[in-house]
């Protein structure tokens, strides 16, 4: 840390000597470990690419820490220029009127060409307002994918299931071969939010919450309840491993080959390649053939970058310049390759294809293919307040379904009731 600060300071001095003091802009982000290294590289590349602005990227811990730090800084009128906010926290920052400058306005004011159709369909409107104006710049975007242990599936003599019906047929064979068929790492994201998107089901009233904060959740529906009844039955039959709510515990079960298939994030790909001592492949998120017709595209997960308001025009111009740099195909391709997050623009995707990246590692393309699948009315995203707490409620009730403390019906009634209570609180807080 100290060395980094020292180096940053040295860099500032060096720049100060050559150019007339560059405008400094700060970026608070939640990318640590290997991801943080990639962020630092992108920052250094941006600083080397021009001399007008100097970007300082600071890791503030995880997603929640970063958001909390941003809130505290904003209240103290000491906010950074750019902050990374995760999907579930988007409603909090977007609905705080005037806290951020819409990225589309920011870019257009600074004469950066902007066309929302340059972005791939899955990320295009997720951080936009109800009129389709982009508020947050999509950054690290991922989607849930099925990872499978090739050897395990071969031993059981089954193919990768595309649908849950196929999964039900394969699970007993995998059990016979000595594996728990499936685990997944994020119940709210994978088996709630993306379940709705995959089956083109409406997630909340008021256009999934984009049109208003006065909104009710629509989780308490037969398709979703039926799915969870199946999950519970699979667990009781030994086809589904439930290792609690922790992401890592479920992933470890797959890495240690107790579980044959695991649903995680497309962003998990790079890490798995290092930790898994076996040959694995990726596939799309399974869907129920019996629900709806064709599978639809999934939501993105991950986070986006917001430009805090209250800065000078000069600094805002620097933010615009950085966003322009960040969305360049080369930058996106580099980010995609290093991290496993999907490229967010069509041009970057084309570049990756042209470069032959997917020939060399076809699994890296599954995520973006899934996000590019046909969209439906309800696949562009959701905007729900206090959604972080709603996810907590879901985690809690899923625990209760899994340990038999509650029936699926009772758990979903609680989810509906508590989620609507939270949404009402949010509406009362933010609507005036």
């Amino acid at each position: 840390m100290f060395r980094k600060t020292l180096m940053a300071a040295a860099a500032v001095f060096a720049l100060g000597n050559t150019a007339q003091a560059a405008t400094e802009i700060t970026w608070w982000h939640a990318m640590d470990g290997a991801l943080g290294g990639v962020v630092d590289q992108i920052t250094a590349d941006f600083n080397a690419s021009q001399s007008e602005y100097h970007l300082v990227a600071v890791n503030k811990g995880g997603y929640e820490d970063t958001m909390t730090a941003g809130i505290a800084a904003f209240r103290a009128k000491n906010q950074p220029n750019i902050i990374q906010i995760f999907d579930a926290g988007a409603a909090t920052i977007i609905n705080a009127k005037g806290a951020v400058k819409p990225v589309q306005d920011l870019l257009e004011e600074n004469n950066v060409k902007f066309d929302i159709n340059d972005y791939i369909p899955g990320v295009r409107y997720f951080y936009a307002d109800s009129d389709g104006k982009m508020i947050g710049m999509p950054f690290n975007s991922s989607t849930p994918l099925l990872y499978y242990n090739k050897e395990a599936l071969a031993k059981a003599g089954v193919d990768v299931p595309k649908t849950w019906e196929e999964f039900e047929a394969a699970a007993p064979k995998l059990k016979e071969a000595g594996y728990t068929a499936l685990a997944q790492s994020h119940s709210p994201w994978i088996f709630f939010e993306n379940f709705m998107s995959r089956h083109n089901l409406q997630m909340a009233t008021a256009n999934n919450g984009y049109d208003s904060t006065d909104v009710k959740i629509l989780y308490n529906n037969d398709a979703l309840k039926d799915h969870w009844q199946h999950v519970k039955d699979w667990k009781d039959a030994g086809y589904y491993g439930y290792y609690g709510r922790a992401w890592g515990a479920n992933q470890d079960a797959f890495v240690q080959q107790q579980v044959a298939m695991w649903i995680g994030s497309s962003g998990s790909f790079g890490g798995l390649r290092k930790s898994a001592q076996f040959d694995f492949g990726t596939s799309t998120l399974p869907y129920w053939k019996g629900v709806g017709d064709a599978p639809k595209s999934t939501f993105i997960g991950g986070a986006s970058l917001f430009a805090f308001s209250g800065h000078s025009a000069e600094q805002d111009a620097g933010v615009a310049a950085f966003f322009q740099f960040l969305t360049k195909p080369e930058t996106q391709y580099y980010w995609h390759k290093e991290t496993g997050y999907v490229p967010i623009t069509n041009a970057a995707y084309e570049l990756a294809k042209k470069d032959g990246y997917y020939k060399e590692s076809p699994d890296a393309e599954v995520g973006i293919l899934q996000l590019s699948e046909e969209g439906g009315e309800w696949t562009k995203g959701y905007r729900l307040g206090f959604y972080v707490q709603i996810r907590e409620v879901i985690y809690r009730e899923v625990d209760k379904i899994m340990n038999g403390e509650e029936t699926v019906d009772a758990a979903f009634n609680t989810i509906e009731e508590e989620a609507n209570g939270l949404l009402k609180r949010f509406n009362d807080t933010y609507s005036n």
């Binding site: 922790a246 809690r396 625990d399 340990n403």
Partner: protein, 292 residues
């Protein structure tokens, strides 16, 4: 009218001033802020806010998860305090009797004191990891169907175990020094009068340790209420089904992760009230039985 007045010097005030200042800045002011916030509905970034009287308290008190958490906190705190005090008293008495290698025994028993709660939580987490945890495997090989991931009682057991383990060494240090503060002459006189070591303990040693025990009771309850946060955050995160979420953990989840300032302020005000009541109770009813 003539008033009787003592000569006051400013010096004592000068001496307490830094302490008062610290308490004001780091306790009174934030506490007042929390009380103020608990009456507001305010968006996280402070762009708009409205005064809503007791709405936040109503929302908190009517939520089943808060009630569950409150009950858990009380049960958890009492169990952690009682078990860790009992255990460390036993260990201290035993260690006090050791003649050969006394120092190494004592040092070993004090070691845990140096461990931060999140680290203790992490250690516990590893030992109870379903895939590689030794304790997890041991319990299951004895025939318990132990599964703290899904069973609320098992999860409670795990967090209590970690919290107690972490606290025993702290209590041990205090009890050991308490024991060594008991005059040798008293002990020798007691030995002449009574042969039963157990009886001597309950009639002589324990009453003389009462001030220490009372002090530790207060400290341990505070520990279980507040400082176990790190353990819970690292080990169970309040799961399964919110069964191991203490009130402090809930304040953190709603306020810091969820950005609901009014709701979590209301929760912390309620927590403040609970702890005040508890402290008053301890000093009024339990301290009476303590002889210094």
């Amino acid at each position: 009218m003539k008033r009787v007045q003592f000569e006051h010097s400013a010096v004592p005030y000068l001496f307490v001033a830094p302490q008062i200042l610290i308490i004001s800045i780091f306790f009174l002011w934030p506490a007042a802020q929390a009380v103020y916030q608990s009456f507001l509905l305010e968006d996280a970034f402070g762009m708009s806010s409205q005064f809503v009287w007791f709405r936040n308290f109503e929302d908190v008190l009517s939520s089943s998860s808060w009630t569950r958490s409150a009950v858990f906190t009380v049960v958890f705190s009492v169990l952690v305090a009682v078990i860790s005090i009992t255990l460390s008293l036993f260990l201290a008495v035993r260690a006090d009797e050791v003649i050969r290698g006394a120092k190494s025994y004592r040092t070993m028993l004090m070691w845990g004191y140096a461990i931060a709660p999140p680290v203790a939580g992490l250690l516990g987490n590893m030992m109870f990891n379903p895939l590689m945890g030794d304790l997890y495997k041991a319990f299951n090989s004895f025939g318990f169907e132990f599964n703290h991931i899904q069973n609320a009682n098992d999860a409670t057991f795990v967090v209590i175990l970690i919290a107690v383990w972490k606290q025993v060494s702290v209590n041990f240090i205090f009890f050991l020094s308490g024991l060594q503060g008991i005059p040798k002459s008293v002990q020798e006189a007691a030995t002449l009068d009574c042969k039963s070591a157990e009886r001597r303990f309950w009639t002589i040693t324990f009453p003389l340790l009462a001030p220490t025990t009372f002090f530790l009771l207060v400290i341990n309850l505070t520990y279980a209420f507040f400082e176990t946060f790190g353990i819970i955050d690292v080990s169970t995160k309040g799961s399964p089904g919110g069964a191991t979420a203490t009130l402090v953990y809930k304040v953190y989840v709603d306020g810091f992760i969820g950005a609901d300032l009014g709701g979590s302020s209301a929760q912390s005000v309620l927590l403040m009230i609970m702890v005040s009541v508890l402290t008053v109770f301890q000093f009024r009813f339990i301290e009476r039985k303590v002889h210094y």
